[in-house]
């Protein structure tokens, strides 16, 4: 009897471990930063003096194609939630998002990047402004690195779903 119980326990643990490892390999875990720049009306209104405006528009459209009416260009009547701008500095930072509402694109990297790399990074920074943290799937917009990604992964979408619940 004791043996049977032990066997059942072990099998249970193995099954759970297998299921867990399966969910890890098929897609990475959704992740949130714990802060976001979305306003009380569930909008992320942006303003910009960046020269990478076409990447900014493409990045906005990528998120908007999944959930619409959230990321919007700033209007005269709305106060911006995030300001996008460029700077130049020799460092490993391609772009950054600060919790005080500024996204900066580093010319040192951006100038020579491909459209796909710029789209990935710009979408990634908007993702931070939406409250998304880094994830580790190869195709995740929210992964690290200077790579070209032009679609949201299922993990990116799940992270956004989770973030939306906190707005």
């Amino acid at each position: 009897m004791v043996r049977l119980k032990r066997l059942m326990k072990t099998t249970g643990i193995i099954v759970i471990a297998l299921l867990l490892s399966l969910s890890f390999t098929t897609s990475s875990q959704a992740a949130l930063l714990g802060w976001d720049l979305v306003d009380n009306n569930k909008h992320l209104d942006w303003n910009s003096d960046s020269k990478y405006i076409s990447s900014i528009n493409d990045a906005m459209n990528l998120w908007e194609s999944y959930k619409s009416g959230i990321i919007r260009p700033d209007t005269a009547s709305e106060r911006e939630d995030v300001f996008l701008t460029d700077y130049n500095q020799v460092s490993s930072t391609i772009a950054s998002t600060s919790s005080n509402g500024i996204i900066r694109f580093n010319d040192y990297h951006y100038t020579d990047m491909s459209n796909g790399e710029r789209l990935k990074t710009t979408t990634h920074e908007f993702g931070h402004a939406l409250g998304l943290a880094h994830t580790f799937g190869k195709r995740d917009i929210m992964r690290q690195g200077k790579v070209s990604i032009t679609k949201l992964s299922s993990t990116d979408k799940r992270s956004y779903d989770d973030a939306y619940l906190t707005y």
Binding site: Y87, A95, T97, S98, N100, K146
Partner: protein, 200 residues
């Protein structure tokens, strides 16, 4: 018996927490403005940190000189337009040992570190997993030469605090050996590089 044990444990806890709170007053009580970034390298891989940097060295931080504010932008806030810049903390350092590159070790000079107290003095701006340097401590720093010859330390894992003091102890420490090993296997990135004005 249990009660005595409890009290015995409680006393040092109270003393310790009192010490901590008095030490950490002022600047450390400020909220943190978080910087989260996209990086061109895997900042968790030491061979990439070392390979991407221009200089990697052991240094003692001898002074915190000032905070510089760069890249100002004007944003709209509840209270109207406000100028916001990125803080960079300037430290005077004394190089103790060069791991990558050759910086002067007979003379103190200044470096900049991304992050510091915000212009409105209301928060500390820092990258995730990053901390400001402390005067009197030794660090292994990974620095980028700027076009003007100055040195910048920026981002996660660009500084590693050492517990050992003095060159002989440091060079036999585990951290130092890890950086030496990472330099041997460095993953050098293709990028336009500049030269520090503090080279030997």
């Amino acid at each position: 018996m249990r009660k005595i044990l409890f009290v015995l444990l409680l006393i040092p806890t109270l003393i310790l927490s009192a010490c901590y709170s008095s030490n950490e007053a002022s600047i450390n009580d400020l909220p943190v403005t978080k910087l989260t970034g996209s990086f061109s390298i895997d900042v968790n891989d030491l061979t990439q940190i070392v390979g991407d940097a221009d200089y990697v060295f052991v240094a003692e931080v001898t002074d915190e000189v000032e905070t510089l504010y760069k890249h100002p932008v004007t944003i709209e806030t509840e209270n109207g337009p406000k100028e916001v810049s990125d803080p960079y903390t300037k430290y005077a350092i004394q190089v103790v040992d060069n791991i990558k590159g050759k910086l002067k070790n007979n003379k103190k000079f200044d470096i900049l570190k991304a992050g510091g107290i915000s212009q409105d003095k209301e928060s500390i701006v820092l990258y995730e997993n990053d901390e400001l340097l402390q005067v009197g401590k030794y660090y292994i720093l990974a620095a980028y030469a700027q076009p003007d010859g100055s040195l910048l330390v920026s981002g996660p894992n660009s500084s590693s605090a050492l517990t050992e003091m003095g060159k002989s102890k440091i060079v036999s420490s585990k951290e130092y050996k890890e950086y030496k090993e990472a330099f041997k296997n460095e993953m050098k990135s293709e990028r336009k590089r500049f030269k520090s004005s503090h080279e030997m």
